[in-house]
Symmetry: C2
Subunit: 578 residues, 2 copies
């Protein structure tokens, strides 16, 4: 194998073009095998193999600095920068993260997993180079899908006037995670179709020099282009057209489905049955609602698959479906506009990405009290990569005035909240879609959610009251059942306000309140309870996650660390009331 | 006066062009007089008078909907939509807010004061119109300065593919608050200089039709252009070139200084002495530091005046000064890039606008532990307009892992923290620049801030410990002095972590801890103290702001409402320990 001889980027520099082509095949083979085993980003990595080889052939990393966007496409880079064992040997498959990680390697500069950041980060790197009067190329790699994000666009506008060496490689595989959306993509298409010669050129309009590599999987042409811009003294865009999923038929044909795959996707051809889940019932609810009410509209920002907004869903929804592309800020503001003008937007977003929209939630949405429904998916403590933690949405969202943030604990509550939210016209409402398996009571929820901040008492006991929020209601119930007396079990439902009356009432015959939340404790729900009881004899114990970035930590380990096992909690309750 | 006859936009429609020109003069006159009396946005409003008349002449508001960006330019609109009394009569000068406000008038659609939102909001309004099969024009007005913001760029990309009527009026006065920064502005210049005929056109590259009105203060030409796009069936940009500050010589000549003015600016020609203040000592510190260390760089996002980064400062800093324009997300990511490559960025930002950067602070900055210094200005409870509240930065920033957020209480602490932060290489550091007058102890601060979360005991007493955070340390001291026993007075210094040892120690001879913070209580500092003591006999009282959007509420009233007067606090302490 050629790959045997390649341990650092320097080892590439002695290879011939045919050898590099063979190397590309070898790399592709191990990526396919490894990712089909472990799961991970698939299509983007297969598309960028040749470009990665060409970049490391032409440039001199790490003196020249290649800065990855979102790093959905960093596996070939990892292979070429000393980490090939993580792709060759099954026992090493989990050694490296799925994203760039400076702690792994001197060729990685940032820990990155959110989109649209590379250009901004790289302008800083380049500007520091200039302040220090140093040399070297700074290269920002960014996919076409990521280009539509505000941070990337702000970055491009600024990078264009840097006045020194700066190379943006636009990896255009004509696809975001799903299809692209936005006027920008018509321009990329025009540029592809005119061999880059169209007068109206988005990048040139910002002031970049511009080079097109139409055959973005042709190593020779890529090398030629990269050589032509190396040591450029001004900002330049190299627009390369690559094939997403290249070399794997299934991925070439189903570019959305194979953007990211679960383990074994190639074996079972990615056929996933639609078992009933919070995702499936949401999908069904929206489809039905939209049929009855033409003002209902499902909005998302470039990740429809996460929400089950598949091709069939999109087709059925027609103009009642809006994917704004990677543009979360726009999604929130646009939803506020929709609601203000009488439509009923349902914006689905992952907890980790809702972080991009704080100011839009505050100013465009909550200050204007626009009645939108925001569905926050995946919120909770998890074993995710540090770049995709979903632990922070409760502090982020629940401290914004006017917002109503709801924590359902079962199917019936969830659907009732969802329908209430869609139909009401008073509040911006966010619902934290449960992370646990679908839990059905079989009993209709008759709660009137327009009465805000009314907690639900599930069973009335004494001495100890347990508030189990959202995902952690089940844990709360287990704890209650494990105690040798009747504690009070409460389902708070609301994360944005306190049930003062109930909390006062508890003072009569309770001496301890415990709160359980599936997220960061700092700034979260439990602390509000602690504040409420601060000036009373009531003791309060708050359970949740520590303020920290965890990185692929096993969930069991995290629960232990955070004292979130039933046994730990029961012991601590006993110690507290004894 | 023509203005006497104009009470609604309909009254414009019978006027001749010369009458409208006279009306423009009359409007300008009352704007100048009023704003010079009350303070407010000056230059942008003077520049947009004719365009506002022409918009309301051609379009049929509120069926046609004009949506303002940042609303620094909404005074002429207010005058023409039934609110002229607020500009004519001194006793009514404060009746209306300085921003668009739906509660005031059916011609206002959003409460807006942050930049770059109009296009996104308007796309939602337009999409709702389409879902309802309604007619009518949707017009997003946006200034050239606001165009560089990520939300605006995301919005433009999406608006371009709306597929129905959508009109973006780009109000190009060739100036942001200060000068513009970014490649986009070279394109606007090119378009102005080529009568809009340049092939490379930013807006066309996104898919918009495009019309230039070079004489953007010529009512007749504006009317002609607006008529030409009225009822357009696809998205179109009308690029109008207006003169910022038109009609007021001082404002025409000093476009930055007269963007927003204090009362009486025209009388004293805006001469403000540079008294020593936190702003002036920061400016001086940065200038000195930058001279000694070429890697020090001052960064801001389009509001240099707020930080005293005036023309002289910029000239002295040279390439060690970076204004990224309205692009806060980029500013944070770029600063992270700077730090990663060995520079020492100092990013100055207002509390209200740091809200735009949560994800960048979390992902680009804190996850990467990049050692930047972020100076957060104006943080605290204030009588500001609802759009410019600075009450939320403690919950926003302090719950992000790895961040160190500091609360200095005097000049010496502040300068010591600042220099420590700039020189250290371990942490992302934010400092909340004190809002109160400069307070100097005259004693050098010898604290080692690398020992994180070490609170400072100012005086050791018993029974009650008072934690006075940042701006509210003075109030804490007053409370301590008003008590008839020796309480313990503590200056926490750190907002991002607790001094566990000290807090434990207090349990020995204290029964009450009170916290005072100049910001929202929910998610803030005090709640962390309440959580810490939840499982102990220590009582805790947290003082700070309620979770709410206040709107030009007098500060005294807010302090009363939040129980933040010395008398209220002393009474409550007495009640609690009696």
């Amino acid at each position: 194998m050629i790959l045997d001889k390649v341990n650092t980027p320097d080892d590439l520099k002695v290879l011939s073009i045919p050898e590099m082509e063979t190397l590309a095949d070898e790399m592709r083979e191990i990526i396919i095998k490894k990712v089909n085993k472990t799961g991970g980003h698939f299509g983007p990595n297969l598309g960028i193999v040749e470009a990665t080889i060409a970049l490391h052939y032409v440039f001199n990393s790490p003196v020249d600095k290649i800065i990855y966007d979102v790093s959905h496409q960093c596996y070939p880079h990892k292979i070429l920068t000393g980490r090939k064992e993580g792709f060759l040997y099954p026992e090493k498959y989990l050694k490296y993260t799925g994203y760039t990680a400076p702690e792994e390697c001197e060729h990685d500069f940032f820990k990155v997993g959110h989109t649209s950041t590379s250009v901004s980060l790289a302008t800083g790197v380049a500007k520091a180079r200039d302040l220090k009067d140093e040399k070297g190329n700074v290269i920002a790699l960014i996919g076409d899908g990521s280009l539509s994000g505000g941070e990337a666009l702000e970055g491009l506008d600024n990078a264009a006037v840097l006045g020194s060496n700066f190379i943006v490689v636009v990896n255009d595989n004509d696809q975001s995670i799903a299809e692209n959306h936005g006027g920008l993509y018509d321009n990329l298409k025009l540029l592809r179709e005119t061999d880059g010669k169209a007068q109206c050129n988005f990048f040139k309009s910002l002031g970049f020099d511009y080079v097109l590599v139409k055959e973005g999987n042709n190593i020779e042409k890529l090398i030629e282009a990269f050589k032509s811009v190396k040591d450029s003294t001004h900002p330049v865009v190299v627009h390369i057209c690559t094939q997403k999923g290249k070399g794997c038929k299934a991925a070439e044909e189903n570019r959305e489905g194979f953007h990211w795959i679960l383990p074994g996707a190639l074996d079972n051809n990615q056929s996933c049955g639609m078992e009933e889940s919070y995702t499936s019932i949401t999908r069904e609810y929206i489809l039905n609602k939209a049929k009855q009410d033409k003002t209902v509209i499902a909005v998302n920002a470039g990740t429809p698959g996460v929400f089950g907004f598949d091709k069939e869903f999109r087709a059925q929804m027609g103009k009642q479906y809006l994917d704004v592309g990677i543009a979360e800020e726009h999604a929130v503001a646009c939803a506020s506009g929709l609601a203000t003008n009488g439509a009923k937007p349902i914006f689905a977003v992952m907890s980790s990405f809702v972080q991009r929209t704080y100011d839009q939630m505050s100013q465009d949405l909550c200050l204007n009290n626009s009645p939108i429904t925001m569905l926050v998916y995946w919120g909770g403590i998890s074993g995710a990569d540090a770049t995709h933690l979903c632990t922070f949405d409760i502090p982020l969202i629940s401290n914004i005035p006017n917002m109503v943030y709801l924590a359902p604990t079962n199917k019936e509550e969830y659907l009732k909240m969802l329908d209430w939210s869609v139909e009401q016209t008073e509040h911006p409402v966010a619902i934290r879609v449960p992370m646990c398996g679908l839990n059905s009571t079989g009993l209709e929820d008759t709660t009137d959610y327009s009465i805000l901040n009314k907690f639900k008492v599930i069973s009335k006991g004494e001495k100890v009251a347990i508030l189990g929020l959202g995902n952690f209601f089940g844990l709360a119930k287990e704890v209650e059942e494990a105690l040798d007396f009747n504690a009070t079990l409460i389902n708070p439902l609301f994360m944005t306000g306190l049930d003062i009356e109930l909390l006062e009432e508890l003072k009569k015959d309770h001496s301890l309140v415990i709160t359980l939340e599936d997220g960061e404790l700092d700034g979260g729900f439990g602390e509000k309870i602690a504040r409420f009881y601060g000036n009373s004899d009531m003791k309060v114990l708050n359970y949740g996650a520590k303020k920290e970035f965890t990185d692929r930590a096993p969930l069991d380990e995290l629960y232990q660390r955070y004292h979130l096992t039933k046994e730990q909690i029961v012991d601590e309750i006993r110690a507290c009331i004894s």
